[in-house]
Structure formats: C-alpha cells, structure tokens
C-alpha cells in the first residue's frame, strides 16, 4: 500500500471514526441534526458522482431521491412490506428510473441536459401530486413507528437512527472513494476533462455516462428511502425542484469532484440555514446568496480549495 493510499484511508476512515465518537458526546439536538446531515450527505455523494466526477450537471436528482423515498414508503404503507424489502424496492425504483432517464437525457449535453433532467423531475413531482389519493401530495404521510422496525431494531430510537444513518453514509463514502480510484471512475474524470479524447482512446462514452448516472441515481434513491424510514415521513416536497438544487448547492459548497466535499457542504449549509431560520423565515435567501457567491468566488468549493492549496492528491 502506497503512502498516498494510506493517507487517503486514514483521512476518510478518520471521519467515520469521528462520527462514531460524536454519538457519545453530542447533545440531543445536534445528535439528531447530524443523523439527518449524514443521510443528506449520502444523497450529495451520489449527486457528486455525476456532477463532480463525470461533469454532468443534473437539475433533476430530486426525482431519484423521491423514487427511493416513495418506493419504500408506498410499499410499506399500501403493500404491507416490512422495512427491508421496502428499502430494497426504493433502491430498485431509483435504479430503474435513473436508468430510464439516462437513456433519454444522455442524448443531450450541456444546457439541454440540465433542462431535460429538470423537466422530467418536475413531471415526477407533479405525478406524485396527481396520485394524491395514495401519496397524500404535499401534505405527505407518516410511517408509523411500528412499521419502522428493521430486523428487530427500532429505527425511531435516536441512537439506532444515528447508527443507521452512519452506516448509509459510510457505505456511500466508501463506494465513492473506491469508485473514483477504480479504472471506471478514472474514465469518468477523464470524460469530465475531455470527452472527445476519451472516445478516441477507445472508451464507450455513452456506457460510462449511463453507468455514472445509474450509480448516482441509485445512491440518491437509497438516501431517500433511508431518510423516509429514519424520520418516518414521505412528502411531495422532497420531489420538488428545491430538492434537486440542494445537492448541487451542497456539492458546490463542499467541493465538486472531491470525496469529502459533499459531507462538508451539507454540514455547513445545514447549520447555516439552521442558524438563519432563528432570524428569518426566508431561510432560502441564504441558499441563494451562497449559490451566487460560490459561482462567483469559489467554484472549487471548500475541499477543492484544500486540494488546490494544500494536498493535490486529495481524492
């Protein structure tokens, strides 16, 4: 194992160890927040695989997040599934929908890709509203505590919830780290840098982008399913445009194309909004200002700046 690899493993393993340690010291409020942040950061990690590493800017990831959430919640609510098959059906729904959207959207590039993903996600959101009889639309529905017992573990209990969130996060972080160091992930980065050159090295661009989008969408769906299960609620707002913008914001803030960036961005943004909501109800103002400021002054994000200034090998 090279020194570089050891440093990388120490850094990312260290974060997971730190998160385990925080469970024992954090006050209840921040403990609950951190569980939420870890699930949302997993969503952002999924988004980052497509946006940060492959260079495809999707404005429709809420569709995948919601596919996971509703794939889980609807089967539990209406088909009597238990959490394990519920989670699985959420993840499968996300994989199928991201694959289907990829087949269409990858025929376009650039701005057209952004608009196409936006439109299909919007159609998905409206579809959830349209079938309000089952989904209860914007109001959403609660998944009862009794329906949230996975393999005998009550997920509504704060400690269990924290470790469930941490497990998801650790899996997504590990997968992301492994992927970007594997040959497949390296080709994705090369596609981001210079697509035509990659084609002329004999790689199938379409297949790689398709793979990236399905991995990204499935990870987003897994996060959506876990989010619904841990916090006992599914609502249409998770499918709205706002939830497509959030992961973009988190990843831009934390550093696109870095493994840790999504977590850093989610953590910062969560607390930024949390603090500002004490002052004003117009908390999305913070999101807007941050987006504009990032595009203007720090398109690399926080971890991107670290990579540029301190550690060039940061994955």
């Amino acid at each position: 194992m090279s020194i570089e690899t050891r440093r990388v493993l120490a850094l990312h393993g260290g974060l997971v160890a730190l998160l385990i340690g925080l469970h024992f010291v954090l006050p209840a409020y921040h403990h609950g927040n951190l569980a939420r942040i870890m699930v949302l950061a997993s969503y952002a990690i999924g988004y980052n695989i497509l946006f940060g590493y492959t260079g495809l800017l999707s404005l429709g990831h809420a569709l995948f997040f919601a596919a996971g959430m509703y794939g889980m919640a609807l089967t539990i609510q209406h088909a009597g599934f238990t959490p394990a098959p519920g989670l699985l059906s959420g993840i499968v729904a996300g994989a199928l929908i991201s694959g289907a959207l990829a087949l269409l959207a990858l025929r376009t590039t650039g701005v057209a890709f952004m608009i196409v993903t936006l439109m299909f996600a919007q159609a998905g959101y409206l579809t959830i509203l349209y079938f309000g009889e089952y989904t209860r639309g914007d109001e959403g529905f609660v998944i009862q505590t009794a329906q949230r017992v996975l393999w005998g573990i009550d997920l509504s209990d704060p400690a269990n919830r924290y470790f469930a969130a941490l497990s998801l996060f650790a899996i997504c972080l590990g997968l992301s780290l492994w992927l970007v160091r594997a040959p497949f992930g390296r080709v994705l980065v090369a596609i981001r840098e210079n697509e035509e050159r990659v084609r002329m090295l004999g790689y199938d661009i379409y297949a790689h982008k398709l793979g990236a989008m399905v991995i990204s969408g499935t990870m987003a769906a897994a996060s959506g399913a876990v989010y619904g299960l841990l916090f006992g609620y599914a609502g249409a707002s998770f499918a709205s445009v706002q939830y497509s913008i959030f992961p973009l914001l988190w990843v831009l803030l934390g550093g696109a194309g870095t493994v840790l960036g999504p977590f850093i961005g989610t953590l910062f943004m969560f607390y930024l909004i949390d603090l500002s909501s004490g002052i004003t109800s117009a908390y999305m103002l913070i999101a807007g200002v941050t987006l504009v400021a990032l595009t203007l002054f720090a398109p690399q994000g926080l971890a991107g700046e670290v990579r540029r200034r301190i550690w060039k090998g940061l994955p």
């Binding site: 800017l57 269409l104 608009i115 299909f120 919007q122 509203l129 999101a287 200002v289 595009t295 203007l296």
Partner: protein, 308 residues
C-alpha cells in the same frame, strides 16, 4: 352551460394567457437568443413586476387607472434596471458561461423571491383594473324556430381582458420593430449571429448583453403588470410563468422570436381548452414531459428547421 359556449369561454381565457405568456417568453427567448444563456430567474422578474405594480398602485391612490398607468411605466423600468445590475455584477463576471450562469440565476431566483417574502410578505394582493366592464357574449344555436342568438349564462369576458390581448399584441409588434427596424436591433442581431465578429466590428457586446438582459426582464415585468388585475401579486407567482415560458421557448425553437410567439399562442390556447377536459395537474405533467421529449428528440424545436 353546454360544451360549445364553454369552449369559446376557455379559448378567450386562453387568449389572455397566451398574450401574457408571449410577452414573458419573448423576454426569455431574447436573452437566450442573443446571450446564449438560460435565465432561471426570469419568473422572478415577472413576479417582481406584479409586486412593484401593487406598491405603485397602493402609493398612488386615487382612480385605479392612475396607479395602473404609473405601474405600467415604473415596474418594467425598475425590473429592467435590477436585471441590468444583476448582469453587470454577476453574469458578466462569469463570462456568460452557460452552466455557471444557470447556477447563478438559480441563486438569484431565491434571493429575489425571499427578499420579496421578507419585505412584501406572504399575502396575495390584488391591483384594481383601470376599467372592467363585463361584456356578455352571444352564442348561436339551432332552436325550434331555426338558428337563433342568445346569451348563455356565464359566457362573458371583460373589457380589461380584451385590452390585455390588444396591449400584448401591440408590445410584441413594438419588439419586432425594434429588432428589425432600428440600429439597436441590428446591433443585437449582429451580436446574436456572431459574438466574435460583433466584437471585431467594435460593437460593445457587454453593453448589448446588459441591455438585452434588462429588456428581457422588463418584458416579463410588463406582462406581470398586465395580468396582476386578473391574478394577484404573490411572492411565489413566478414559478408557473417560468415553466410555461420554457415550454414555449423550447417548442418554438430556441432563440426564434416568431416561433416563440406562435408557440405561446398555441400553448396558451390549448392550456385553456385542455384544462376543460383534464385536471390542471395532468395538463402540467403532459406539458413538462413534452418539453423534455422535444429537447431530446427535436432540439431545434417543433417549428425550427435548423439544428440548434
């Protein structure tokens, strides 16, 4: 009411939608055509127009027409000025990079929307129309004594709605004349055709961009002032015009003004008529899917001929 008069009513309502939509969408199309950027905050410029109209009418007092006419002048100018400022402080510094501009205008969307929420508040407020006579409309039907005119109950429009259609038509003609008959229009078209060449010929491209961005936003604001006596001013009202403008601009062929107007009329009218048969949500689902599919399979728009 029977189905015939009902559809006539729906088409009239649709024509009002189409008129306002055409103005909004032409603004978006102009920005896309000349500057090659997508402005996600376009709907918020629309919303700002309506909110400013409410403020102006509120402050003026007196006869409703007074406030309305003042709003018609003030709102587009003010919104245009805000857009020019946004262009010079943000878009210009991004060098109009298409993807970064989209991200920045999403940020702008939230900034405008949330600042409005903080100052104007969450209420929906009406602006009184300058004139508003009800006009009953006749319908022909074959009765027992042959064809006859009658006035079905509920089949009516207002003089204001007809005026909106007229005003929008006049403004669109104005925009067309501006683009084709004036020097500034020529400069805009030259910039649209070839930015590098325009620069080489000494056209101040950055000033043209600021102007076009302001003009596009001003058109959206004007459309909003026209509609605000019929709808109401609300801080979230920008979402629908944005979506519909997108649909229109993409179906009409990106950056083509005649295509945009044609598509606006088509979408506006069919929106009115489709909502007679389908739920509005289903209509919106179909519309968003249509836009997505058109972009995937016919990126030059339904009416366009060249590759975009």
């Amino acid at each position: 009411m029977e189905i015939g008069p009902y559809i006539l009513l729906a088409s009239l309502e649709g024509a009002v939608t189409a008129a306002v939509l055409a103005l909004t969408a032409v603004g978006l199309s102009l920005v896309f055509g000349v500057m090659r950027v997508v402005n996600i905050a376009h709907g918020e410029f629309f919303m700002l127009g309506a909110v400013i109209a409410w403020y102006v009418a509120h402050w003026m007092g007196g006869h409703p027409a007074l406030g309305f006419v003042a709003a018609l002048v003030v709102a587009p100018l003010l919104v245009g000025a805000i857009a020019v400022a946004a262009d010079m402080t943000i878009l210009k510094r991004l060098d109009y990079d298409p993807e970064r501009t989209i991200v920045a205008t999403i940020g702008l969307l939230y900034i405008i929307q949330q600042l409005t929420l903080m100052s104007y508040g969450p209420e929906a407020r009406p602006v009184e129309a300058p004139f508003n006579q009800r006009i009953a409309l006749p319908w022909i039907e074959r009765g027992e004594s042959g064809w006859q005119f009658y006035y079905p109950w509920g089949l009516s429009t207002t003089s204001y709605k007809l005026a909106v259609i007229g005003a929008a038509g006049a403004v669109l003609c104005g925009v067309w004349a501006l683009m084709t008959r004036t020097r500034i229009g020529l400069v805009m078209r030259a910039t649209q055709a070839d930015r590098e060449m325009a620069l080489a010929f000494g056209i101040p491209v950055e000033k043209v961009y600021a102007l076009v961005f302001g003009l596009g936003a001003g058109l959206a604001a004007l459309a909003a002032v026209l509609i605000v006596p019929i709808q109401q001013a609300h801080y979230l009202m920008g979402a629908d015009p944005l979506l519909l403008s997108f649909i229109v601009v993409i179906i009409g062929g990106l950056g083509s003004l005649p295509g945009t107007v044609l598509a606006a009329v088509l979408i506006g009218l069919s929106d009115g008529i489709i909502s007679v048969f389908f739920s509005p949500t289903l209509a919106k689902i179909l519309a968003t899917l249509l836009v997505g599919l058109v972009l995937v399979f016919r990126p030059q728009g339904l009416f366009g001929t060249r590759a975009a």
